[in-house]
Each structure stands twice: as structure tokens, then as C-alpha cells.
């Protein structure tokens, strides 16, 4: 690359690069460094008490997990007591009082094995819950949104009348903010009168059909995933469209001459030609999925029963609503580590696929 100005212009270099670099340093790099420091303290946003160094306490509080075996309740003759549900176990509160080392633990998950109960206890079960929810959301929205975007791009890439118009229509939701989209969809997802259930009933002919989308633990996260894919697919459609148009038409002609049908052309010409685009779209969709916050805050507030609480939602609740900056930063940093690992993994898998 040819550069025009030599080293003697250090003052103008500072003038050009300085402002943006100063802003990056102050508002991205410095907060990340402060976050690392804050995780080792009990720093609060507003507090009369001075901030104290607490070592790795925040990480322990976030990550501690313990398998606990709970013995059933026995009577004086040492016989196992039973009630209508089967073997009777002490409540978690009773277990905790009997075993002081469990004082800060709460049950996250449990199962009964014969006359024993095994409890997986965590100091912050909600963190693990939110981690699972976040991954679940990413698993739902990634194929949905990327697949939809690719399908739309293939469609508007066809020489069909009105494709420019439809391209704009598919892009429309991207222009609406996530807050507005969430509010409109709260109406559409209404159990009795929402359009989604009306459509479901009309298509299946079953008038009794119609889940309470945002009110059932099993439906709320998928409903948010559908809404998010609707809102975001248009953007990635444009990215895929550009990828499609960069594939040489000679490749398609050669494939047709060799007798390839439409499906074979798609698998052997289109998909390999889109490799870089697919990696870009997957990584950017994953970053968005991991940042899930707005939809949850507007539509469900983390509920029902924490089934839509995500890592960012949990971090904001701890760091902002409870003003516990130290703990909120810990959640954020652990989460950032996971994000980096996941995007590195995706790139690695993609490059391995390319080498094949």
C-alpha cells in the first residue's frame, strides 16, 4: 500500500488518529480494564461504605456448584417416612440448617434415585439458568434467522417482477427498533385475540388451539426467537444477496452444461461460493443472540418462572437494578469469555470445513 505522508507529520497523525483513539481508550478499553478490577471488589454504584478487595469471591458466588445427597426423613424406628408423593424428603431449608457449609447454596436441579435425592445446588442458580436460556435462544434463532435470510436472498436474487419492492418489504422490520417490534408482537402473540394464534387456528382448523406464547415456560423463548428472526433476517438477506451476486455466472453455466439440476447447483456452486458470507452472518447473528436483552425486558421481564432470563438480563439486574457493579462486571466478563470462545470455535469449524 502506498502511503503519502512520512514520519515527519507526527503532529497531524495525532490530530487525525487522536480523537477516535482517545474515545476508544476511554469508553471501551478502560471499562473493560475497570471491569477486571471491579470483579475483585464489592464495588457498588452508590454506597456509603468504601469499596473493598474481596479476592475471587464474586467468581465463587457466580460459579460455585455442588452435588448434595439428601437422605429421606426417618421416624424414631429409623423407617423411611412416606406421604402421598412417595418418599418424604426434608425441605431445602431444613437441609441447609443441618449442614452449614450449604448456607449460601440454593437448589438448581434435583432428581430422586430410590431412597435418595440428589440435588445440584449453586450459589447463583439463576446464572446457570440464564446461561442455558441464552444458549437455547442462540440455538433456536441461529438456524431460523440465517436460514430465513438465505432463503429470502435466493428469492430476491431471482429475475422475478417486483424483487426490488420485496427486498424493501423484507428489510422493513430491521428499520423498526427492537422495543417497537417487541411491543407490536406482544399484541400479535396474545393468547385469545392475537394474530399468530388466529392464523394457527385458521390453518389447522382446530379452534381450541392457541398456546399462551409469552405465559408458558416452554413457549416464551421460542416466541422471542421467532420475533427476533423476523426483525433481523432482512439485514442478513442483504449480506447474502451480495455474496450471491459475487459468484461468477460462468460457474453456474458450467454446472448446467455438466447436467447439474437446481439442487446440485445450489450444493456444489452456491454454498461453497457463500462460505465467507455464511461465517460472517453466523458470527454476527450469534453475537446478537448472546446479547439478548431488549425483547426480554419489554415482553416478559425474564419470566415466566425465569424461563427467559438471559445472561445480559441477569447482569443488568445485578449491576444496575441492584447496583452491585462488582458482581455485574463478573457476570459480564465471564460471559465475554464465553462469547470469544464461541466465535473462535465457529471460525475454527468454518476453516476446517474449507480445508476439506
Amino acid at each position: 500500500m502506498k502511503t503519502v505522508f512520512g514520519r515527519d507529520h507526527s503532529l497531524s497523525v495525532a490530530g487525525f488518529a487522536g480523537p477516535a483513539l482517545l474515545l476508544f481508550a476511554t469508553f471501551i478499553v478502560l471499562p473493560l480494564l475497570l471491569a477486571v478490577a471491579a470483579t475483585l471488589t464489592n464495588h457498588r454504584l452508590v454506597s456509603p461504605e468504601p469499596t473493598q478487595y474481596v479476592g475471587l469471591d464474586n467468581y465463587r458466588r457466580l460459579l460455585s456448584l455442588k452435588f448434595v445427597t439428601v437422605e429421606p426423613v426417618r421416624d424414631a424406628a429409623n423407617a423411611v417416612l412416606r406421604d402421598e408423593d412417595g418418599v418424604r424428603f426434608p425441605t431445602w431449608r431444613q437441609t441447609r440448617i443441618a449442614r452449614p457449609e450449604l448456607a449460601r447454596y440454593r437448589p438448581a436441579w434435583q432428581f430422586n434415585a430410590g431412597a435418595r435425592r440428589v440435588v445440584l445446588a449453586a450459589t447463583d442458580p439463576l446464572f446457570y439458568r440464564s446461561l442455558i436460556n441464552t444458549f437455547l435462544f442462540a440455538l433456536l434463532v441461529l438456524p431460523l434467522q440465517c436460514g430465513l435470510a438465505l432463503g429470502l436472498a435466493l428469492l430476491v436474487n431471482q429475475p422475478i417482477a417486483g424483487r426490488i419492492f420485496f427486498r424493501t418489504v423484507y428489510f422493513g422490520p430491521v428499520v423498526t427498533s427492537m422495543v417497537v417490534a417487541s411491543i407490536v408482537w406482544s399484541f400479535l402473540l396474545n393468547t385469545d385475540r392475537g394474530m399468530v394464534n388466529e392464523l394457527l387456528r385458521a390453518v389447522t382448523g382446530d379452534a381450541s388451539l392457541g398456546p399462551d406464547w409469552l405465559g408458558e415456560t416452554s413457549h416464551a423463548l421460542p416466541a422471542i426467537a421467532i420475533m427476533s428472526a423476523w426483525q433481523g433476517a432482512g439485514f442478513q438477506m442483504l449480506v447474502f444477496l451480495a455474496g450471491l451476486q459475487s459468484i461468477s455466472s460462468e460457474l453456474y453455466e458450467a454446472a448446467t452444461l455438466m447436467g447439474a439440476n437446481a439442487w446440485q447447483r445450489f450444493v456444489h456452486v452456491t454454498l461453497p461460493g457463500l462460505r465467507n458470507t455464511i461465517v460472517f452472518v453466523m458470527v454476527s447473528t450469534m453475537l446478537m443472540a448472546f446479547g439478548l436483552f431488549t425483547q426480554v425486558d419489554v415482553m416478559t421481564a425474564g419470566g415466566p418462572l425465569d424461563s427467559t432470563t438471559t445472561v445480559v438480563y441477569h447482569a443488568v439486574r445485578s449491576g444496575f437494578k441492584q447496583q452491585d457493579i462488582g458482581y455485574g462486571s463478573t457476570i459480564t466478563l465471564v460471559f465475554f469469555g464465553i462469547v470469544l470462545l464461541a466465535s473462535a470455535l465457529q471460525r475454527f469449524l468454518a476453516s476446517k470445513g474449507a480445508a476439506k
Binding site: 477516535a20 469508553f27 458470507t277
Partner: protein, 294 residues
């Protein structure tokens, strides 16, 4: 059957699919727009028909009048406009200047800075939000008290707390960098022959030749500034500095008139739609470019 007719017939199923998908994508927004002109009773009675997606005969602006009366919407619109414009103007300037120094000047650490900028593109704002919150709580801001300069600690409840952290944008720097790299150096040579320094070159030659990328950066910055939600709900408590997205969320929480909520949503969406439609061509072209090279 002639060729063009055969083409038209084989394209028909695809056209039908395209229309159906178009309905899925447009319906929620049409519903929002149509309902904003209706009385609440009409919204519910139209639900099971196509009428839900088109304004009815008795359309009126009552909902719009009500939201401007019942809430501080004009103030929120003013705040969001000011924030978005400041982020666009300031952001285009600082990001293009950094990109210029990366693509046109030779200096120590340049390639390291470039890789840091690229790396920062994968840092989601959500990761920085909580620590940034505790940082802006401690930053000073100048003010005038009793005729003398006084430093006020903490940036909360202000417009600048919603502007300054969002000026530098790694994605925009990268967009500008790619674009400047492709501007032929012959253009620079001519300017240098005339004795132009880097500032003259940048403002007289490079920027005027960069309209498409300026448009793209402006749209990206405008949309993200206008749609800010997580940050303002954390740093703005009162109504004085509140922007539109927390504004509509609050209205949604306390209003029970869907017509008014949809009118509010429409007002909040229209400015972004206008900006997008005005710059659509440049935007489509460069979103595309970013994907392939990124």
C-alpha cells in the same frame, strides 16, 4: 409457448412464495400503522379480517393527539433527534479521520491500531455496559456556577452521556478504511503537487469523494443512536434527558389503549424509516461490501 412466457409461468410459484413471505414481514408493521388511526373497539372488531391491516373508514388522528397530550413525546423526540444528529456528525468526523490516518499516513503502531480496531468489532456493547456505567458515574463535566467554572461529577441524566461514548465506532472506522484504501493514490499526488498538507487533502479531496461510505456510516450511526434502549434506561432517570425508546416502553407499561400505543410506535419508527428510504441505495451497496470482506 415462447421463451418469455415459459419463464413467466415457471417463475409463478416463486412469485407466490415471495408474496406470502412479504405478507408475513409486512403484516405486523401494517397492523401497527393501521391501528394507530383506529378507536380501540375498532382494532379488536377488525382483528379477524383484512381490515386489521388497513385503516378503516372512520380513521382519525385522535390517538396521535392523545399521545402528544398525555406524554412528553415531543421532548423525547427532541432529545433523540439531538442525540442521533450529534452522534452522526461527530461519529462520521472522528471515525473517518482515524481511518484516513490508518490508510494514508505512515506512523509507528499503525498496523497494531488497525488490528485492535478490527478486534473491537466483536466486543458487544452489552459487555461494556455495566463497567461503563460505573465509569460515567465518576467522570467530571464542566459547568458554570456563580459565574465561575465548576466541575460536576457524574454524567447521569444528560444528553452527552448518550452521545460521547458512541462517537468512536469500530465498524465505521473499518468501513471508511476499506473505502479510502480503494481511492486511487493519483488523486493524492495531484493535491500534494499543489502543496496541500494532510488536512487539505482530507477535507478537499478524500471526504468529497467518499459520499457513499459517509451515507452508510451516517445510517448505521443514526439507527443505532435512535434505537438505544439498554444504555438510556441505566443512565437517565428523569424525563428531561429521556430519548424515545425508553419513552415508548414506559408508555406501553402504563397505557391501556392499544390505539395510542400503536400511534406512539409509528411516530418513533417514522424518522428511521425516512432516513433509510432516503439513503437506501448507498446503504444496500455497502452492507453488501462489509459482509464479503468482513
Amino acid at each position: 409457448m415462447n421463451v418469455s412466457l415459459r419463464k413467466a409461468v415457471s417463475g409463478a410459484p416463486l412469485f407466490v412464495i415471495m408474496c406470502l413471505l412479504g405478507l408475513v414481514f409486512a403484516a405486523p408493521l401494517l397492523f401497527m400503522f393501521a391501528s394507530s388511526f383506529k378507536h380501540d373497539d375498532a382494532i379488536f372488531s377488525d382483528l379477524n379480517s383484512w381490515g386489521a391491516y388497513i385503516p378503516d373508514a372512520g380513521w382519525s388522528l385522535t390517538n396521535y393527539a392523545a399521545i402528544f397530550e398525555r406524554s412528553n413525546l415531543p421532548l423525547f423526540l427532541f432529545n433523540s433527534t439531538l442525540i442521533a444528529l450529534a452522534v452522526v456528525v461527530g461519529g462520521v468526523l472522528v471515525n473517518s479521520m482515524l481511518a484516513f490516518s490508518l490508510s494514508r499516513m505512515r506512523w509507528r503502531g499503525r498496523s497494531a491500531v488497525l488490528s485492535v480496531v478490527v478486534a473491537m468489532m466483536v466486543v458487544p456493547f452489552e459487555v461494556v455496559a455495566i463497567p461503563l456505567l460505573s465509569l460515567v458515574a465518576r467522570l467530571p463535566w464542566p459547568g458554570i456556577e456563580q459565574g465561575a467554572l465548576a466541575w460536576h461529577i457524574g454524567w447521569f441524566n444528560s444528553l452527552h452521556v448518550q452521545i460521547i461514548p458512541f462517537l468512536a465506532n469500530a465498524f465505521c472506522v473499518f468501513l471508511f478504511y476499506q473505502f479510502f484504501r480503494d481511492i486511487p493514490p493519483e488523486l493524492d499526488e495531484a493535491a500534494k503537487m499543489d502543496g496541500a498538507g494532510p488536512w487539505a487533502l482530507f477535507f478537499r479531496i478524500i471526504l468529497p469523494n467518499s459520499r457513499p461510505v459517509i451515507a452508510t456510516a451516517a445510517i448505521v450511526l443514526f439507527i443505532s443512536a435512535w434505537n438505544q434502549y439498554l444504555w438510556p434506561i441505566m443512565v437517565v432517570q428523569g424525563e428531561a434527558a429521556r430519548p424515545v425508546q425508553p419513552g415508548i416502553q414506559q408508555f406501553f407499561g402504563r397505557s391501556n389503549s392499544w390505539g395510542q400505543i400503536m400511534a406512539y410506535a409509528t411516530v418513533v419508527t417514522l424518522p428511521v424509516l425516512a432516513v433509510f428510504l432516503a439513503f437506501q441505495r448507498q446503504f444496500v451497496a455497502s452492507v453488501a461490501g462489509a459482509g464479503i470482506k468482513g
